[in-house]
Each structure stands twice: as C-alpha cells, then as structure tokens.
Symmetry: C3
C-alpha cells in the first residue's frame, strides 16, 4: 500500500524524482492541457472540512490526466457519511468505487491511523492541525522552480508559527537541505519545535532572505481576545518590498486576510499565485505516481506511507 500522509516520508532522492515528474506535468498542461493517462481511473475527493482551493486543485489534477472524480467536497457536515458511521467504514465503502481517495479530516492524526487499514491509496489533503503534506511539497517545488536548487537558501516564515501546519511541514522538508531558516512572529505565536532564529518584524529579515513565506494568523485556533492582540500584526506593502532583494520571492499558502497588500500582486517577486498553480502540477504528479507508477519511480519514490 502506498499513501501520501506526511512530509517526513520523503527524502532527497524521492523528492528529486517527484519534481522531475512535476516538471513533466507542468509542461504537459502548458502544451496540451492534459492527457489520458489516468483514463478509467476514479478519484474520490472526500473533504470533511471544506477547502475549495485544495479540493479544486485535486479535482483539476485528476481530470487533466483523463481520470474521473467523485466530488464529496461540499456540505459533508450535513451528510450521512459524517453521521453515524465511522471514518473507517466510510473509507472502506468508498474504496470499493475508487482507485484513490483524497481526504481531509478535522481530527488530527485520524487519516494517518486509518489509512493502513485501507487497500486503496490514500492522499491526505490535511489532517486537523497536523500534516498537510501536499502543501509542503508544492511549496518546496515552487522554491525549486525559482532557484533551481534548495541548498544555500535563506527562508523566513512570518506570522502564526505556533499553529501554522504548513510552516511545520515545510520546515521538515527544508531540513533535508542546507538552508537557513528564521521565524518572524509575535512572542505569543512562536513555536517550540523550531530550530531557526526568531524575530519580531518583517523588517528584521527582509533585506537578507531569498524566500519570505507569509502566513495568515489563524483566528479559528485562538480565542478572540488573543486574536485581537495580534491581528494585523503583519502587512506586507510595496514600501516594505523595497527593502527586499531583487531576486527573492514572496510566498503565502492562502487564503490571505491582510498580510499582503493587493498592490504587491503586481511585483514580479510575488510568487503566491504561481505557488497555487504549482499545487496543480504536484498533485498531478502524485496521482500519476500512485496510479501509474513507471519504472523510474517504482522503487525509489516512496520510502514509506
């Protein structure tokens, strides 16, 4: 069984292979929109928490490879799957119809503990406040696309370091390479698990970084009075961008609230929409690897999962 569940299941070699396939997917979409390589394959998109961005990305990815989708992505809170049936039973049911199941669930760790009991490949599209592995893969791919190599880069994460699962997962991947990581957050939103330098202001780091990774402060994960203290703490403007290097990039996992001014969108260093587009290519590559493994990937791509 092969699943995509965690950032930590990847090593440098498997990432290299994945990114080679992702490059092929990017070129395929740009040249022809897609192909028929996953024809007659069915992907179930099972989202217990709505996430239009992630579910749409997976749906487009499957369809551009000629596959079909069972979309269970909207209003599932009200549906029978979530009532009176265990998560295990729902997956055991849906695997009878599907070649792969993409699943997001609000309970941290539930996907990881259930997936081993399911024969059909499972791709985690977000596991509570824990892992969101395809996000960190697309993040890393975006960086690789821009700089060619990851080694030697300086990356600063800005915002909610405590609750930012994309930050934690991407840190795991970046630590495979020789990178310098710093974390910029209000004191109340630091993260004990980090190994990087800590700062308070964007201005403390922006002149020096290759990647400025902005994140949203997640009001849903703290109480209102705490949120009021930190909301609007960071706001990247064209003014601030003047302090940054010419060849750096700004990333953001989206949605943004007001961390990045819309006017920054026109700056060529604003790479967050390209980052979203990379999500399509990464997910196409993952689907291809799970459903149509070719010789080159067969043995090397996945260490575990």
């Amino acid at each position: 069984m092969k699943n995509i569940l965690t950032a930590s299941q990847w090593d440098k070699k498997s990432l290299k292979n994945l990114f080679k396939m992702t490059d092929r997917m990017k070129s395929l979409v740009e040249r022809r929109g897609g192909d028929d390589s996953l024809k007659h394959k069915v992907m179930t998109a099972l989202f217990y928490e709505s996430s239009t961005r992630t579910s749409s990305s997976f749906i487009a990815a499957m369809q551009r490879l000629g596959g079909s989708v069972i979309p269970i992505t909207q209003g599932i809170e009200f549906s029978s799957v979530s009532k009176g049936e265990t998560f295990y039973d729902s997956l055991r049911t849906l695997e009878q119809y599907s070649d792969v199941i993409v699943v997001r669930h609000p309970e941290t760790g539930l996907i990881e503990s259930t997936a081993p009991h399911i024969k059909t490949p499972i791709i985690s599209a977000g596991s509570g406040s824990g892992e969101h592995p395809t996000q960190s893969l697309l993040d890393l791919y975006t960086i690789k696309q821009r700089f060619g190599s990851i080694d030697g880069l300086k990356i600063a994460f800005v915002g909610d370091i405590t609750n930012g699962r994309t930050i934690h997962s991407l840190t795991t991947l970046l630590n495979l390479y020789d990178t310098e990581i710093s974390y910029v957050s209000p004191t109340s939103l630091q993260w004990n698990g980090d190994n990087g330098d800590r700062y308070d202001k964007i201005e403390d780091v922006i002149h020096d970084v290759d990647v400025l990774y902005m994140t949203r402060i997640q009001s849903e994960r703290m109480d209102k009075s705490d949120y009021d203290k930190v909301k609007g703490y960071y706001n990247l403007t064209p003014e601030t961008m003047k302090l940054a290097k010419e060849d750096m990039i700004v990333m953001h996992p989206f949605p943004r609230v007001n961390e990045i001014d819309v006017e920054v969108d026109n700056d060529p260093r604003a790479w967050y929409f390209r980052q979203i587009e990379s999500g399509l290519f990464i997910r196409m590559a993952l689907l291809k690897l799970l459903l149509k493994p070719e010789r080159e990937f067969k043995f090397s791509i996945l260490k575990q999962g």
Copy 2:
C-alpha cells in the same frame, strides 16, 4: 481577454455568428450527444448563489464537448471560498486550475468589475439583480429558432417588470431588431427603463403577440405585504390560451410558481422546456467560442467584454 458579462456586448453580426454555432451544437447533441472538442479543458462552475438550473446547464454543456468541470455549486455559503477571502483572490486562485470560470454572485456588478483583472475567460451566470447574459441569449435563440427571424415580431413580457433582470436583458437584445415590445404588470411592478406599451392584463395583449414571455413575481425582492397584493396576479390557463394566435409561443425563464398552469404544458405553443434545452446549446456554443475559437469567429464574435 474575452468574457461574457452583459447583453450589451452583442451586436447583430456577433449574434448571427453565435446562433450559427448554436445550431451546430444542437445538431451535434441530437445526432451524437457530444464530441471531444474541449477535451483536457477545465471549467470551474463557481456559484455563490445556488442555481441548479443554470449550473447544471453549464456543466452538461462543458461535458458534452468533452471538457471537465470543477463543481463549486452547492453549499458554497458555508465554504472557505466565501469566508475571509475576497472575490478577487478566489478568482485568481481558481484561474490557476481552469481554462474558463462560470460564476454567479449575489452582489450586482461585482463580476463585471473583477473580471478585467483575471486572465482566464469569465462567463457571468448571473450578477445579483443585474445581468444574466446567457439567459437573454438563450431566450433570443429560442425565438429565432421558432420564427427564423426576429424582425417584425410582437413580444409581450408579463409579470414582475421591475425586478425581472431577464426582461431587462432580453429587451436590450430585442432592441437591436425591429420588434414591438409591450409590458404587462400590476402598476406596482412597472419598469421605468422600458420603451414599450404598458398593460395590466394578459387578455389585453394575448390575441396579438408572437411571444408571450411570462415571468415569476419575485417574492424575495419585495416585502411580504407587497407580495401578497400581487401574488397570483397572473395565471395562464388553457382557457386563456384559446385567445392566442395559432403560431405564437409561450416562454418562461423558470422556476414558475403558478403563472402557468401545468395543463398548458401539453399545448404545442408552450415552448418553455425547449427554451431550457436551448440553454444547453447556447452555453456549448459560448464555451466553444471562448475556448476554441475558429477562424470564422475569431474576429467577429465579441465586440468587447
């Protein structure tokens, strides 16, 4: 960039081209169900207001041309796209995955003001109480199908002339031709923008018209006491139909409440279900024109948008 946003972007020549393509789509569906001309293209259907009729029509249109669909059509009120993210950010995100975005939004004018900032073609599927351009195109196509030519026809609109956006948009298109338009409504539901004659009762006009265009009185756009005064004001029955010409047609944009008796459905002059079917053909034609423009349409089809 090419968008479908308003009835006023069409002139007689571009309509002629559109209807020629629509005829081809009708014939295609009748002979073979569809083709593969939009294979590997992805359409996002993004409905901030549920509209099963319109969204289903677009979905079928794309699929009958071999394309794929990301369906964001149900329960979006509860989803992340509509929470904490601007409409602009949502469109900028979805365009990374899509070749065309079909969008309905309850805020009048928002689609029109945002579309110019998006690279991907946008088709408006309804913009608040304002434009619903594909509805007026399918209406006009239905009339053309029946009578061959629009010039010389007498059309009466019945019902809620104040709030009927389909009436306003279709009037715009009919005014390109030599037609005689009249409006039948309670005094409280007249429309200042009209140029036609005003009547109070269906019986005042039915003996003379080629097209009797019935509409629903929209309870959601007035308060209850006003609605109670006018609800059930119009009710087309087989009896009333005896007063109409042999070769006229009855249309309705649906849903109907009780403006038209179910018994009228069997009258060969009841063209409202054909009208709904025309929506499929018009939308196929529009998708084809935006996504696969052929030489004949390339320069002539769209004046602006």
Copy 3:
C-alpha cells in the same frame, strides 16, 4: 419509456439478463477500470436526501463507462431546486440536459408517480420509506455471486423488520425463487407483510442459514424511548460467528452502527464490503441497459417501469 422504480418490475428472466451484464461489468472493471461505451452521455444525480454511498456508487458507475455526471447530491435541501418548484418541474428541467436521471426523494411514492410524465429514463435511488430497487438488485447479485444459484438457500433477516425497506424489496425478489426466509427482530419491530418464520435472537437461526442479512435499527424512524428499548439488541461478534456454517455469508446494507463488530470484517464470510462493490457493477449494468440497450436485452430486460 424505461425506468428502474421497483423490485417488482423484475422477473427471473430479466434478472438473469441483468446479472449476465453485471458479470461483464465486474470483469471490465477488474481488467481495465472501465470503457467508453457511454461517452457523451450525461447522467444527473439528483439527491433530495444525501446518501453518499448510493450517489458515489452511481457517479463511479457512469464515469467508469465513459459518461459524465451532473452532481446534485449535496446540500440540495438549501438549493433552489427544492424551493418553490415542483418535483415535476425540476425533472422536466433536468431532462433537457440529461440522458438519464438518478433520483432519491424523501417522499414515498413521489418518484414512481412522476416518472411516467418524464421522457428521460429515471432510476430510483430511494423513494422515502418505500422502494430502493437498486439496493435489492445488488443484494441479490451478491448472493448469486457467492452461491451461483438462489434456489434452495436459507436467508435470515435480522434487525428492524418493520422499517427495513431493503428487507421488503429483497424479500420481493427472493420470492421469485425457491428460498426459505426467516425474520429475526424484537417483537416491536416485526413486519406484517412477511411470510417467513419469526425469531428473536441471532442464535436461533445462525447455525442453519446461508445468508445472514443484518440491518441497522433506524433511530430516525421511531421515537427516542422506543429506540432506547431496542438499540444494541443485536451485535454480531466473532464468538457468534463460530456458530455459523463454514460457507455462509454475512451481509449488511450499511451504514452499520454496532450490529456487526469490526473484528468480524476479517472473517472471510463477511461479504458486506463485496456487497457494496457489487453496487458499482449493478449500477453500471443498469446504466448500460437503459442507455445502450443491445439486442440481447432489448426485448427481455424490463417488463415494465
């Protein structure tokens, strides 16, 4: 017009033909995932009551045959189709876009009474507390797959015999053959329409049956005090399974609450996930028969409907 509305529209000959086609579908999926035989056909899945299991099964069935799907399966309670429009008008609308409509509705008998007025084939996916014909067909196919023949088998239904529509419909089909049926339920959940023997405990019948058909006690169809008396009345465990014959099977229409221990899943006699999988094959066969009837089925398959 050809519809799938009731278990009673089938006879032994038409079932034999259906099952032959179902065998072909099973083999197709196992060998190649699917084919393109329903390419350019569109199925609307219209679920006024959410049922992820059933809708997903139909969606996968259509897609594995190369067809497309308009999914109206989630949150429809909140959408325009269910507000201010008759069921007849909704079906008349959707048939303009579709080659077949799969529909579930909470009002018993409404689908059956409306379908004759619709030209497009209608498949009932559940009609209130009444018929759920495709469930009983997949149940019977599962039994046939295991035993080759239905004649001579002993079947026991366990649970909520009063409200179990799957029990009633499957009983109708089983009565076409030479079978022995018994019903195991608390006294309060017996069924007046049965012709079989009645028992109170699984242990009364398990040593002797070929098929033990477990069902959920449906809390939503009784008041809380009644439910409290019977909930947890049945619970099949590995211990109980020791009393069963070596070559019997356990079935369940799902979802299960606690009628069957998860540990029973590993018993080779647990056939309920295979039963779910059979739903895919049966629905593929039905779609093929309705949309692409071949000579062999043309005259024999459907007596009525």
